[in-house]
C-alpha cells in the first residue's frame, strides 16, 4: 500500500464525515431563516462566533477536497486510472486542484467581505 493512496483515501473519508457535521449546521441555518427575522438575527449572532469561523474555513476546505477527490473515485469506477503510476499522478492532481479551488473560494469570500457584505 502506497502512502499517497492511503492519505488521499483517508482524507476523503475524513472530509466526508466533517461535511456531515456541516449538514447539521446547514439545517440549523435553514431553520433559523424559516423562524423569522428576529430568530434569524439571534442565530446570526451565534453563528458569528469565532469557533464557527474556524468551522466555515474547515468546511470550505472539506467541500473542495471531497468534491475533487470524489470525482477521482467516480473516474476510477469507470475502470480508468487504476494503474499505479496513474493513481499516483491523480493523487497529486486531486491535491493541486483542490488547493486551487480552496484558494479561489477563499479569495471570493474574503474579497466579498472586504466590500462590507
Amino acid at each position: 500500500m502506497s502512502r499517497y493512496t492511503l492519505v488521499t483515501s483517508i482524507l476523503n473519508r475524513f472530509t466526508g464525515a466533517g461535511l456531515s457535521v456541516g449538514l447539521l449546521l446547514f439545517v440549523y441555518w435553514l431553520m433559523a431563516v424559516a423562524s423569522g427575522g428576529r430568530a434569524y438575527a439571534q442565530a446570526q449572532h451565534v453563528l458569528a462566533h469565532g469557533i464557527f469561523k474556524v468551522l466555515y474555513a474547515a468546511l470550505v476546505i472539506a467541500v473542495c477536497y471531497h468534491l475533487v477527490a470524489g470525482i477521482r473515485h467516480l473516474v476510477w469506477d469507470t475502470g480508468h486510472g487504476l494503474e499505479r503510476a496513474q493513481s499516483q499522478r491523480s493523487a497529486w492532481l486531486v491535491i493541486a486542484v483542490s488547493l486551487v479551488l480552496i484558494a479561489l473560494v477563499g479569495f471570493c469570500l474574503l474579497s466579498a467581505r472586504g466590500q462590507g457584505a
Binding site: A17, F26, V27, L30, M31, V33, A34, Q44, L74, A117
Partner: protein, 129 residues
Amino acid sequence: MSSLRSPLGRVAGLGAARGGVQHWWLQRLTSIALVPLAVWFLVCLLRLPAFDHATVTGWMSQTWTAVLLILLLLVACWHSQIGIRVIVEDYVHGAGARTLTLVIVTFAHTFIAFAGVFAILKVAFGAAR
C-alpha cells in the same frame, strides 16, 4: 478454482453482490448528483450580496432556488447517511453497538432532511416573517 464464489459464501448460500451492491450504487448515484448541486450552491452563496434575513429569504423564495436547495439537501443527507454508515460498519465493533449506532445515524439523517425541507418550503411559500 472453477467458481469465483468463496466456500463460506457457498455454504451460507449468499452471493457477494446481492444486497451489497445497492449501497454502492446509491453512493455513486448521489455523488454524481452532488457534483453540479454542490457547485451551484457554492456559487450561489458566494454571489449573495449579504446574509441578512431579507436577502436570504428573497433568494430562497425563488422557485428554482427552492427546488434545487431541497434536492441538494435530500441528496446530501442520503449521501451522508450511506457514508457514515460505511464508517460505522468499519469502526464500530459488536453487533449491538453497531446496530444502535446505525439506528441513531439513520434517524438523525431523516430528521435533518425533513426539518430542512420544511424550512425551505416555509421560506419559499413566504411564511418566514
